[in-house]
Symmetry: C2
């Protein structure tokens, strides 16, 4: 029995197609939207179409931006000879939040995953190799430390090494503030292997 | 430092204003929307404006609908002499899902809450009293069993009693399948008070 209006059902259906939003949450959100002032609801809808319309990939690092070059690539004070390779723009944002990294980025928009049928040609690797033809000192691989991230890191390092450019990988280990007893064995072993002298 | 495009930030901001959506979730949703096919993103935006534009209150029971009368009030086979009063359209949907209730509803769109400054005039009580001038046998109060829901139930019962119409309240007690040891004392006492002979 259809208790809501067709428009409500459509909205609930669209919302529940978003990741992490189940049917109950979609219902709650839909009702919240119905009780919003009309301009607010229209603002939300407009922000979706606007973002989808104006946002494109940075010509240099492939992150999502609304200009030809993203603010980081356009910044001359950044060290354009150091490129950190990340899986997506959220990872870029996470490193950017530290405020300490002065190089530029390269966003792959994915990671190699034979399980999901994602091969090297499906991520922005060609664009990375093209950038390495310029003047680059170091490629820092900051893909996730998941199976896919590690596979991608291995693949990139094999690709970059013949060019003579330095390739590094961010360290795996115990997170700061992490309690040893709650950390998985693989991380503990990584932390042991990667130990540094004091 | 602004790492995302202005349009992305706007979208993240709009999404994180929704209930239960924090900044991290809003970011994840925004990126998901960016990676969607363009028509899908536009469909989502359209469903929001459409719902907001076409959905209104049922002239009879005040639930959200896109017609003059909601499908339940328009249904002649429903028992229009029994009115179940609920706080919102989601509660109506919950009872409707049982498939056993044959009466109609009245949606208050809120509950009396002195703490939040919501008085009897702020919910759809006037509309309920107007309906009671017609041919009604019973008013079933199905507001939540929270402080606000109980206050509202008391208020409505006092209002309806002088009209001579039967007023009932849905039972409080142990939920079916509920394990006694995990149920709060107030519910346990309610269940005891409301015990029925076998």
């Amino acid at each position: 029995m259809d208790v809501f209006s067709g428009y409500m059902n459509k909205l609930i259906e669209e919302l529940s197609a978003l990741p992490g939003i189940g049917n109950k949450t979609a219902q709650r959100l839909a009702f919240h939207i119905m009780y919003m002032p009309k301009e607010r609801a229209e603002g939300l809808a407009k922000s979706i179409t606007d973002a989808r319309e104006h946002v494109c990939y940075c010509a240099e690092c492939c992150t999502l931006t609304d200009q030809e070059l993203c603010p980081i690539c356009a910044n001359e004070r950044r060290d354009h000879k150091t490129i950190m390779v990340v899986e997506n723009s959220r990872d870029l944002a996470a490193y950017e939040k530290t405020g300490k990294y002065e190089g530029v980025y390269h966003v792959l928009h994915g990671a190699i995953s034979p399980m999901l049928g994602i091969g090297p040609a499906d991520i922005r690797l060609k664009e990375l190799m093209k950038r390495l033809e310029g003047d680059v000192d170091e490629v820092i691989i900051a893909t996730n430390s998941s199976l896919e991230g590690e596979t991608t890191a291995m693949y990139i390092s094999k690709l970059v090494k013949p060019t003579g450019i330095k390739v590094t990988r961010i360290a795996s280990g115990v997170p700061v503030g992490g309690d040893l007893e709650y950390i998985d064995e693989i991380t503990l072993l990584r932390a042991l292997e990667g130990r540094t002298e004091l």
